[in-house]
Assembly symmetry: C2
């Protein structure tokens, strides 16, 4: 089969461009409390959605939809669903952790000017999708890649993003009117920010510390430590 | 509860920095055929792994491990597992699609100097994880965010990445020796590239076209078209 005639030179970025990509990656935060009330300009939101739409997807399935939520009544229903689930969540933690858990603000649904649900339509592309024949979750993973594209683009735009995951699935489905074949993969809060935490907020609050990357790298098989892992570079 | 004292100014990037982030997002490709045989310098691989490790994770769970595979014998076993699964996959497509499916190269396992399996340890952080109380898949999604961070960083470094998903789960588990609680989320092929396709390869080959973003955006609920979606910006 001939190669399609769409290859073009594509090497490494300049040092400055590369640094910008790493800056987005390393300074991105999960935002709950820093949202400013300013509206997000339509052209900025359009660029963020376009970035999400250019995520990789299994078999070029593009299983995502983007539900932009600005209606205060819809947000209020979502926030109620969060509160109900979060009360259930708090009760699952041992006593020693529950007080800290309940003190941590975990969402900015009402304050963020835009909420965004990124979904996965599991039926898109028909019953057999290239690359999804053996791992049925690949479509969900594609939608998650869209989330991360949007999150990094948002950092560059000065827009903070918070991912709220503490909901009963049935509540979000009912509020947003999702068909059965559509999974609400991520419920995001978006708004302009002027400040971000310099480290993950859960670390700053003493909930959990960053692990050593060195401990997480293996070579050629699970549990096998090699030269890379022993190096000083990571 | 007082705010932790780690807030710092964090606004939008400069126009040039923002353009670099979008360049990574829009020119990233799933690579199967363009890998050069050059080794990936250790410091580059270390930067890519650090980018992955700075992905968002539910409850700061950091459920990922990184298995770096350079051993030719391990790669050969993985490639055999792919071939077996891909033969099964081809048989699932209707006749009209099977010839095209079988003609598309879907992996560069042997040619890519580095293979990388990014996993998710579902037991990390104990039985109750903040943010994962109601959606048990959030840890898998965290590992996918690590994949996408690495993929974008790789684009900036001039490293191509291909995600191979056509395996029987049991084969990859056996080859890499994964414990039961560890899920192989992504099997990636990495190598330096000098050329990339200017559009997704599956589109260039006529497998599937990019959808209109406009058709994928709703406002305040499923199926509701609003002003944003009607705008010319996307």
């Amino acid at each position: 089969m001939p190669q399609p005639d769409t290859l073009a030179p594509a090497g490494a970025f300049s040092d400055a461009e590369r640094a910008a990509v790493y800056r987005a990656i390393h300074t991105r935060r999960d935002v709950r409390s820093q949202f400013l009330p300013d509206p997000i300009p339509e052209e900025v939101l359009a660029r963020l959605l376009l970035a999400a739409h250019h995520a990789p997807s299994v078999g070029f399935m593009q299983p995502w939809n983007f539900i932009v939520i600005r209606d205060r009544a819809v947000k209020a229903r979502v926030r109620s669903a969060f509160t109900r689930a979060n009360d259930e969540a708090a009760s699952m933690f041992p006593d020693a952790r529950r007080a800290l858990y309940s003190a941590i603000k975990l969402e900015g649904i009402a304050e963020a000017p835009v909420n965004l649900c990124i979904t996965c339509d599991r039926s898109r592309g028909g019953p057999v999708v290239l690359g999804r024949t053996h791992n049925r979750d690949m479509d969900l993973y594609s939608s998650v890649c869209a989330v991360q594209n949007l999150w990094l683009a948002a950092r560059a735009e000065g827009i903070g993003v918070g991912w709220v995951s503490i909901f009963r699935d049935a509540d979000i489905r009912a509020i947003l009117g999702l068909p059965d074949e559509v999974v609400p993969v991520a419920y995001l809060c978006l708004g302009r920010v002027a400040e971000l935490h310099t480290e993950p907020e859960l670390q700053a609050r003493g909930w959990r510390q960053r692990l050593s990357l060195n401990d997480l790298v293996f070579e050629d098989g699970w549990g096998r430590k090699g030269d890379l892992a022993a190096g000083a570079a990571i």
